[in-house]
């Protein structure tokens, strides 16, 4: 058995990635003329759309590196048959990270106080009290450090993986040393991840939009949302490559496990959603319910329930069955649905806080999202051509070959 190790980007793939990126660019331009040049509220919508789209897709592609590092620390062998796919997706953290950075900085330096009220606190005592955390300098410094940390540590992890291709088969001792080395860098990434995605960053970038409101669950909730979407994205790429005759070592067993991850983390997301919502609803303190008031009882009611239907009910009912996790078509459908569902979740987290009185979800939102999807395709596609699709010398690869779920 020989492997097709070299990925060649199909012309159609390339064309679509370009078209989608073009759609994104055009949408931003049109959006700028429609909203960006308008009054403050329209301006806030323009920037809000850029904010939630860029951060959503950034966290989603970053989840691929989280997946790599978490499975490295857990010494998981099963995922090695598609390891290079996760790596390629994580490359997209670089362009999207830079774009997000530009958008975030533009928000702060452009004094977008309709999004970040804390930029102009006036004599608001609560916001003034938070000044040590909510101030432009800290925001910029922490954003730089966060994104640079993800990019650099991720690059390091990919480099360690690439080194394998240049070497021959590893002996037992070399294998142990290799595993040790990836574990060290993987844990550094995870620690940085815990300090950013699982705590500070969602507070800073998103929660501070409602500058008075707070919820300790917020960051873990954001993490769960982006992680399950990240798994869905990886599944899509794996199935695409598989359908084009690559990834010979991947079979239904691996897809079944990816399906289990999607199922399990959809439930986990729901668990965090419920815990946050129920506790706020139950205690019924106005300072806290202010966040959900217009989402549950106001204009966002439809989106509120849509969120639950797509991200909880659909995975629960559809992915529960064993056969549906082994069915390519259903998995593709569910992956797309989950990616869309959590995009909607991010939409309501950001836009629901910026524009509380009316819901505006139109081609502008979808166009910008399309641009990021094109960018991910372009970036991950290029990354896939750079290296062998099989991590041939990885000590655990053979476990993945005979993997049986």
């Amino acid at each position: 058995m020989s492997f097709r190790e070299q990925f060649e980007i199909p012309a159609k793939y390339k064309m679509w990635s370009m078209i989608l990126m073009a759609v994104g660019l055009v949408s931003i331009l049109i959006g700028y003329f429609l909203y960006g040049a308008g009054d403050e509220h329209q301006n806030a919508r323009f920037w809000g759309v850029l904010l939630y789209n860029s951060v959503y897709f950034l966290l989603v592609v970053n989840a691929a590196m989280f997946f790599i590092c978490a499975t490295t620390l857990a010494m998981g062998g099963w995922q090695l048959s598609f390891r290079r796919v996760s790596e390629a997706i994580s490359v997209a953290v670089i362009p999207i990270g830079i774009i997000s950075f530009v958008i975030l900085i533009a928000l702060v330096l452009g004094h977008q106080h309709h999004i970040y009220h804390w930029l102009t606190p006036g004599d608001d005592k609560l916001i003034l009290g938070k000044k040590a955390f909510l101030n432009p300098t800290f925001f910029i410094v922490w954003t730089v450090l966060t994104i640079a940390g993800w990019i650099l540590l991720g690059a390091r992890m990919r480099k360690i993986s690439a080194e394998l291709d240049e070497r021959g088969p590893l002996t037992k001792e070399e294998g142990k040393r290799y595993v040790y080395k990836t574990t060290v860098w993987g844990s550094l990434y995870l620690v940085w991840f815990a300090l950013t995605v699982a705590s500070t960053v969602p507070w800073l970038w998103f929660m501070s939009i409602d500058a008075h409101w707070y919820s300790t669950m917020y960051s873990w909730y954001t993490f769960a949302s982006s992680f399950v979407a990240g798994i869905a994205l990886m599944t899509l790429f794996v199935i695409y490559l598989k359908n084009h005759g690559y990834l010979e070592l991947v079979n239904q067993e691996h897809l079944h496990d990816l399906g289990k991850f999607m199922f399990a983390f959809s439930i986990f997301w729901t668990y965090l959603w419920f815990s946050q919502f129920m506790l706020i609803w139950y205690a019924n303190i106005p300072e806290e319910t202010v966040y959900f008031k217009h989402r549950v009882q106001g204009p966002y009611r439809g989106i509120f329930f849509l969120n639950l239907i797509i991200n909880f009910l659909a995975p629960l009912l559809i992915l529960m069955r064993r056969s549906s996790k082994r069915n390519y078509t259903l998995l593709v459908f569910m992956s797309v649905l989950i990616l869309f569902g959590h995009w909607i979740d991010f939409y309501q987290m950001v836009i629901g806080s910026i524009s509380k009185d009316h819901v505006e979800l139109n081609l502008f939102d979808f166009g910008v999202a399309a641009g990021f999807i094109g960018l991910i395709m372009w970036s991950a596609g290029n990354a896939l051509t750079k290296r062998s699709l099989v991590v041939k010398n990885h000590p655990f690869l053979k476990e993945s070959i005979i993997h049986h779920t």
Partner: protein, 479 residues
């Protein structure tokens, strides 16, 4: 050929030495067939004495009332609920090991799952005592059961998390017991088949439910395990989630915070693994089971401890940060009552931080993860820390009420409060000693299941597969 039993040579074996199937049976069943050792008798006696002291302490409380404890006007929950949460938390490792790690196909669970599941059951038994006796009029305990009754329209309060606790924990206990016992069946049958004495044959015969080891039995057994694992997985999360609701649904500053559910679950697993380490480090030594509960097992569990300890750490710091970020004076005051060392209970907060967040960070180092003495020491530290976590959450959040006139006097437990706690240790260890004497502490059948893949001597036969190129290997073995 999907049935190839191969794993990378880079992984440490899970059964060391040159063991055959027969050796496995022999090694694990031997302690059951021998007379109890002197050490066992000493340990058992101490446990029973502790249990008796506990029974007397509870007797005082039942006869003279809650006044036997030092609970006071703002501290309505003290040691009792602290102990309750602590014991429930400990149980979680067993369920995680038996259910979630089964779904994750972690081979190392086979060495530790049986003892961990037993620990779960005993820990939940201990936990249950506290809310029951805290009722004061314990003979009314059946009031928590919702049934059409003769007390008029008097029903339990369905919107109270305390009632959800009743359901959650009784479900948890039932499923854990079923899981543990159905796993025991093949092993009990093994003990039965080896028995020489008549009474032993009879006793284990009854307990094994007529297990014959036929294919059909195995098939159903495996299916049942998976179903129970599927049921137990949400239970691992739900039980401590609901315990956290006991606090978080309230509007008490320090209790009402949305991160409580997942953070309680992480903390529960953290303390549970520490207790598994405490028990197994002793058990493997006393029963000579070092080949089955290897350093690899100890190390992996230490990894879980550093992971969950760090998750708990992120949660502590999140809580502390948000109490400031929220700029709510009551929240800030509640947290100052914790971190400020000049407050009466400030010391307990830092003890908790030291034991649960800082101390486990030593386990980033492989040498320390594989050091038995250090691991044992750490397992105690973590359990002390986790006890103080609950103490901090409960006592420091309620001892200063909204008006200083109702700030309580310093709360310290009476001897009977401590005695009740010690008594549950007695109960726990009495049960564990009996278990270790009469049941196989390691799942024999499951060890045999992984032996040819993870056993040291069998792994050595895999050298050829290890050397094969991925292409050749895939050609021969991929399915």
């Amino acid at each position: 050929m999907a049935s190839l039993r191969y794993e990378s040579q880079v992984r440490e074996p899970l059964v060391t030495g040159t063991k055959t199937y027969h050796d496995v049976t022999q090694d694990i069943v031997r302690p059951i067939e021998m007379k109890p050792s002197f050490l066992w008798k000493v340990g058992f006696t101490i446990s029973v004495l502790l249990l008796l002291f506990g029974v007397y302490s509870v007797y005082r409380e039942v006869v003279y009332g809650i006044g036997e404890w030092n609970l006071n006007k703002t501290i309505g929950w003290g040691w009792d609920i602290t102990n309750f949460v602590w014991w429930v938390g400990i149980g979680h490792a067993g369920t995680l090991i038996s259910a979630i790690l089964l779904l994750f196909r972690q081979g190392w669970r086979t060495g530790v799952n049986r003892a961990a599941e037993a620990m779960t059951i005993f820990a939940v038994m201990c936990a249950g005592q506290f809310p029951i006796f805290h009722m004061g009029r314990v003979w009314m305990a059946f009031f928590v059961l919702p049934y059409p009754n003769t007390r008029g329209p008097l029903w339990v309060n369905f919107s109270s998390p305390l009632l959800w606790d009743v359901f959650a924990i009784s479900t948890y206990f039932t499923v854990s017991l079923l899981f543990w016992y159905s796993g025991l069946l093949p092993d009990i049958a093994t003990v039965r088949d080896r028995a020489r004495e008549k009474w032993r044959k009879h006793m284990y015969g009854v307990l094994s439910f007529g297990w014959t080891g036929s294919t059909k039995h195995w098939q159903r057994h495996e299916a049942l395990s998976l179903v129970l694992a599927g049921l137990s997985t949400p239970l691992v999360l739900s039980v401590h989630t609901i315990v956290s609701f006991d606090f978080a649904t309230s509007v008490i500053p320090g209790w009402h915070t949305t991160i409580f559910p997942p953070y309680f679950v992480a903390g529960a697993i953290f303390s549970g693994f520490a207790m598994v380490q405490t028990l197994l480090i002793i058990t493997r030594k006393v029963l000579n089971l070092e080949d089955y509960i290897t350093m690899e097992h100890i190390e992996v569990m230490n990894k879980v401890i550093v992971l969950t300890g760090s998750i708990v750490g992120v949660a502590y710091i999140t809580e502390l940060f948000i109490s400031w970020y929220g700029q709510n004076v009551y929240e800030m005051a509640a947290f100052q009552n914790r971190w400020d060392l000049s407050t009466p209970y400030g010391w307990s907060y830092w003890l908790m931080m030291g034991c649960n967040v800082l101390a486990p960070q030593f386990f980033w180092f492989r040498k320390l993860r594989r050091n038995l003495l250090f691991t044992f020491f750490m397992s105690i530290i973590v359990n002390v820390g986790m006890w103080f976590e609950r103490f901090v959450i409960i006592v420091t959040s309620v001892y200063r009420d909204y008006i200083p006139s109702s700030w309580s006097t310093y709360y310290a437990p009476t001897i009977w409060e401590v005695g009740f706690y010690l008594g549950t240790f007695g109960l726990f260890f009495t049960c564990f000693f009996l278990f270790a004497k009469y049941f196989p502490v390691i799942a024999i059948a499951e060890i045999k299941h992984i032996l040819k893949k993870n056993g040291e001597s069998f792994k050595e036969n895999m050298v050829e597969e290890e050397r094969a190129t991925p292409e050749k290997f895939a050609h021969e073995h991929a399915h």
